[in-house]
Structures are given as structure tokens and as C-alpha cells.
Symmetry: C2
Subunit: 368 residues, 2 copies
């Protein structure tokens, strides 16, 4: 194998595929990046931890076809430090990879590409075209609520629902729910599937450009995010997702309009005196009048009390929350003002837009 | 105690004194910051780990004198998150500290200032005035060679020598030496002392402004760096410093002129394939001609070979080094070109300016 390429583009491609290279694998070959050069398909880099696989195309001048596996961390460090923009990569019959740039010549021991596992082909797939920026935002706005509790595997991913015109993403961890919905077109295929949190996390870091398209392919067992230059493949989580529509109350007994930023910063301050280890210490919300929300917290370190101007309709409630859940939801909301619906002191609380149904964040209170 | 101040200035002062607050103390009061307000002296914040003490003055509007100790980490986090620029700090007779800013009121439990240890007074001191930027640079350029081996306490600090016109700073760790010298005036006091590495490290992070003065006071047992707004006090290390002038060879058998940046980046690349845990793997220097230096490394991961254009006078040598020592020294050098003097394959190697004596970095080779 022999090809010439740009150091900076090679560096970008390595950074992308490294996100799928397992860091604690028991098989040395999985610590590696697969490099494949073919005059027909160009140069392709691959990282794969047997669950999520990422392939990146690299613009190159190929002199000789071939393939090899090189340690991911070492390869990344070397390329980042190369002295010149022109790089020549060449392998010999002893599985040595020469990396040459200006006056520097590295010779690194590689592994045979034959031992590298194959990323599954996504065949018989349905597809939907999305803007990368939209998917990236929807991931950021829901992924924090994906459960890490392995006893309920279906909750370890985000549920995607495409109903023909919109895409809905849902994550639930037993104490809260995050839902985002976006109209994305018409005549789209009807489909639903559960994508593992890790694959989505990596996709969220790689996706960019607001105005760039992305094709999402889903088959029975796999999903493929294809940007043209980068392909992210993941297994899907099998099973029936929780019936989240039954959990989301249609309306609450109390509705409050509040500034997102004011509520977020007050709860962040309250969380400073709530020891993170001690989940029993809540943030307390109370409503002395229809125009005032009092946010307070009290622990052995001290107390915080803060008032926020709001507009309340219905029964006033006193209610306790884990501040983390509110902070995650409020950070995911871009709207300046939101509506929060309460159903008594022990019922779920739902953060919604003041108009429309683009999002819903449900948080269960801590029982008093 | 009651005073009003600016959130941002309070935040700056906390960040400065926090550098002297011990993070793993057994006495809770040492995790705290001492706040003292007096109409005569203003508001002063203090952090002290019984070795290094830092005091910062804070511009304030004092309404009531007093003093209290508050947990450093919590105080820092709270002030950073306060919603408005105006802050009111007030204590009550129960040692509660109220921190009020806009709609937020924190009430935090404090500790009595009476239990806080006194920072030593630096009396009968000699003094020298330096520019902060010069001292900051000299610290950065020597501190990495301070020994952490506690069996030779005098090497756990930087040796300062003021000979009447110049200041010299020296650090030695048994394998290398770093020396910086700067002409700073005339008619200065003759003095020498050993400052603990930790105090210098913190001073280096706090000192700023190239054009701002700093007074250094030294007594028998203590040193005080005084910027006017900030005072850093440290004990001095007692004992006789190593006779470093006897170690530094006057000249070498071989002299090489080389680009600092080219040598640094080549050795950084070589270090990528030298496992940091395996100190026996050296960077190898060899001189195939009077105009070429070859830098190479070879480990079980692979090899690197790189040529640099140089100018060599005298005997050509092959020599092995720990790359870390060269990297630290080369990063501390601002000059584009340096002179390196070798004394055979097993003798010390000295990095010097091509003219003058403003610095010397001695590195011992690894024996072949």
C-alpha cells in the first residue's frame, strides 16, 4: 500500500474514526485503525468496537492498493506532530508502516487487515434525509435522559419515530423523559427503532454543518448515518420501547410561565450547596403568590433562597426536585420562555414550549 | 462584618488565594479562605497551607469590621455563579455568612477566624525590586528542573542568587540543571536563598504584567513576593545549595549550532514512540557529518529517524538522552538558535545561548 495525502485531512479523518475505537479492548486489533487504499474506492479509515463502527474517506493520491491496521492512539499522535503538510504512507511485506513527512520518517509495526472485523452491511434499509445540524441538536437535547441501567436494555438508547412527516426522538431513564419532535418533510417512510446511546453520542460529536445533508438508513438490526464522507454504523437495540405517550400527562393542574435562563441559573446556584453524592437533598419550589416562584435549597453547608417573577394559573404547589434533572432539561431548551405544568406535589412535572409541541421534558419530583 | 464589592473582583481575589489553600488538609479550617474586613486596611482574603500563604486585597465598601473563614471551594463556586455584579457579604453572630446578589441570598456556615493560623511576618528583610514579567519567565524557565526527591531537601527548591546587579535562578534534579540569569539593576543587596518549588509554582501563576513591579523581601527563614495587591509568603528551604558552578563545564569538546524549534519538534516526535514508562529507551543523537544531526529512536512500537541541518565544530559524538529533559529545556528557550556543547558520549551536555550567559541547561546522557 502506498498513498500521499494531506496531514491535516488525515488528522481530521483519524479524529473521527477514533471515536469508535475501543479504549479498553482485550483484542489488540480493536485498538487499531484499519487503513484501506484502493484506486477504485480511495483511502478509507475505519474504527470499530464491535457495536459502533465509523468509516471516513480520505482524499489521497494512491500509488499502490493495500490495507493494514495501525494502533489508533500512536497513529493519531504521530500524524498530529508531523512537520510538513505532505505525508506519504507506505507499507512493506513485513507489516511495517512508513509515515514520511519532510525530514521525518516513522516506521511503525502494523497488524494484518485480515484480522480486522467486518462492519455489518446495512441492507434492505429504509431511509430518511435530514439536515446534520437538526439531528445534532436533537441528539444533544435528548441524550442526557438515556438510561445507563442495563437491566432495562430498551431504555439504553434513544427511540426514533418517523411518522411520514416528522421525526421524534425520546429518551427515558426512569426518573425523567426527554422528547423532541421536528417536522422534516413529507412522504417519508414510516419507521421506528432504538439507537444505542453510545452511537448517538459519537454521531453527535461528528455531525456538523447546519446546511449539510445526512442520510439515515435503518434495517431490521442496524442503523447507518451517512454524510458522504463519514459513515457511522451501529446495531439497533431490539425490543418494544416504553409506551411514553401514556406517561406524558395531557395537561397539569397548575401551569407556570417562566424565563428559561432565570430558572436555570437559580437551580444551578441551588445545586452548589446540594452535595452531588446526596441525592436526598432536593431543590424546593414554592409559590407564595401567582407572580412569584421561590427556589430554595437547604443542606448542612447552608441555604439558598431566590425569587423569580413568573405567571401561575391554577392550584399553587410546593414541590421538591433533583436539581440535575431540571438543569439538563433547561440547558436543552433554546426558547426564552417556557410553560411548566405541575400535577400536585407528587405528580410529574412537564416542561413544554409556550406554543406547539416541539419538546416535552418530564421530571418526577422527590417525594416529601 | 459587612461589606459590598464587585463580583468579578471578588472572584479574581478568590482565584488567587485559592492557590495556597490545601486541597487535602486534615484541618477543616485550612480548606477555608480567611476574610478580614477593617475600615483601616480594607478587605483582605487569605489562603494558607502552612507552607505558602497568599493574601489578596479587595476593593470594597466596608460597613462593619470583622473576620470569618469560609470553605474555599464552595465560596469560589458560589461567587462565580452569582447573578449580579453587586455583592453584599455579611456575617451574623452565629458564624453564618450571607452572600447576597440580586435575587439570590446564600447563607453559608463559616468558621471562627480565631482558629486560622497566622502567616509569618517577614521582618529584618532585604529587598530587591523586579519586573513581574521577568520573574514569571525565569520561574517558567527553571522550575521544571526542581527535584521532587525528598531525600535531598535543598534541591526541592530554586536557588536564587542576587550578586548586586543580576538575579540568577538555578534548579537541579540530579539528572539535569536549569540556570537563568538576568541583569536587573545596580547597587542591589547581595543575597541568596532557596525557595520551595510549590511557592514558586503558585507565584508563577499569579504574577502578570510585564511592566508591573514586584518587591521581593527575604529574611532568614521566609520570602515575600509583594505586588501591592497580592502578597505571597513562603518559608525558605534551609541548608547549603549544591555547588552548581563546579558541575557546569566551561566548554565542551564538541560545539553544535542548531535551530531550537527544529530540535524540539524532532525530539517531541521521537518521544511519541518512546513509552513514557520505559526510561531506558533513549533518543539517540548522531553526527554523520559536520552539517547534519540525526535524531532517532527505536522501541518495540517502531522507529523514527530525522535529519536536521546543523553546524558542528570539534569531535563528532553519538549520544543517548532521556527526551523529556531535552524537551523541557528546549521549550524554556526563546532564542531561535542555540549552542549545544558535548563532552564525549558519556559527559554532560550543555545548552547555551550562542552569545552571552543568560542561560545554561545541563543534561546528563544515558550511558550506552
Amino acid at each position: 500500500m502506498k498513498f500521499m495525502c494531506s496531514r491535516d485531512r488525515l488528522n481530521d479523518a483519524i479524529s473521527i474514526v477514533q471515536k469508535a475505537v475501543s479504549t479498553r479492548s482485550t483484542l489488540p486489533i480493536l485498538d487499531g485503525i484499519l487503513i484501506e487504499a484502493s484506486r477504485d474506492d480511495g483511502v478509507k479509515l475505519t474504527g470499530y468496537d464491535l457495536e459502533t463502527g465509523i468509516e471516513a474517506q480520505l482524499e489521497s493520491d494512491i500509488r499502490e492498493n493495500g490495507a493494514i491496521v495501525i494502533n489508533s492512539k500512536l497513529f493519531g499522535e504521530i500524524v498530529r506532530k508531523l512537520p510538513e503538510e505532505n505525508v506519504v504512507i507506505e507499507t512493506d511485506e513485513k507489516m511495517t508502516i512508513n509515515i514520511e513527512s519532510g525530514p521525518s520518517v516513522f516506521s511503525i509495526k502494523g497488524l494484518s487487515a485480515e484480522g480486522y472485523p467486518k462492519i455489518p452491511e446495512v441492507t434492505d434499509a429504509q431511509k430518511v434525509i435530514l439536515m446534520q445540524g437538526i439531528l445534532k441538536e436533537m441528539i444533544r437535547q435528548t441524550i442526557f435522559a438515556v438510561s445507563t441501567d442495563e437491566s432495562r436494555p430498551t431504555l439504553n438508547g434513544c427511540f426514533f419515530v418517523c411518522d411520514g412527516t416528522s421525526v421524534e426522538m425520546v429518551a427515558i431513564d426512569g426518573f425523567r423523559l426527554a422528547l423532541r419532535k421536528k417536522e422534516v418533510g413529507s412522504d417519508l417512510p414510516i419507521m421506528k427503532f432504538i439507537v444505542p446511546g453510545k452511537a448517538l453520542h459519537e454521531a453527535g460529536r461528528i455531525l456538523g454543518g447546519k446546511d449539510t445533508e445526512l442520510v439515515v438508513y435503518s434495517s431490521q438490526n442496524h442503523i447507518l448515518f451517512d454524510t458522504g464522507k463519514v459513515r457511522i454504523v451501529s446495531r439497533l437495540i431490539q425490543g418494544e420501547y416504553m409506551n411514553y405517550k401514556a406517561i406524558l400527562p395531557k395537561s397539569g393542574e397548575t401551569e407556570m410561565l417562566i424565563s428559561t435562563a432565570a430558572m436555570l441559573s437559580a437551580i444551578e446556584r441551588a445545586s452548589l450547596i446540594i452535595l452531588s453524592e446526596d441525592r436526598r437533598c432536593p431543590v424546593q419550589l414554592s409559590m407564595p403568590s401567582d407572580e412569584v416562584l421561590v427556589i430554595s435549597a437547604s443542606t448542612e453547608l447552608g441555604t439558598l433562597r431566590e425569587e423569580i417573577a413568573v405567571s401561575i394559573r391554577g392550584e399553587k404547589v410546593d414541590i421538591d426536585f433533583n436539581p440535575r434533572y431540571f438543569i439538563d432539561a433547561l440547558r436543552a431548551i433554546d426558547e426564552e420562555e417556557i410553560s411548566i405544568q405541575f400535577s400536585g406535589s407528587n405528580g410529574p412535572c412537564v416542561l413544554k414550549p409556550t406554543e406547539g409541541e416541539e419538546f416535552a421534558y418530564l421530571v418526577l419530583p422527590l417525594r416529601r
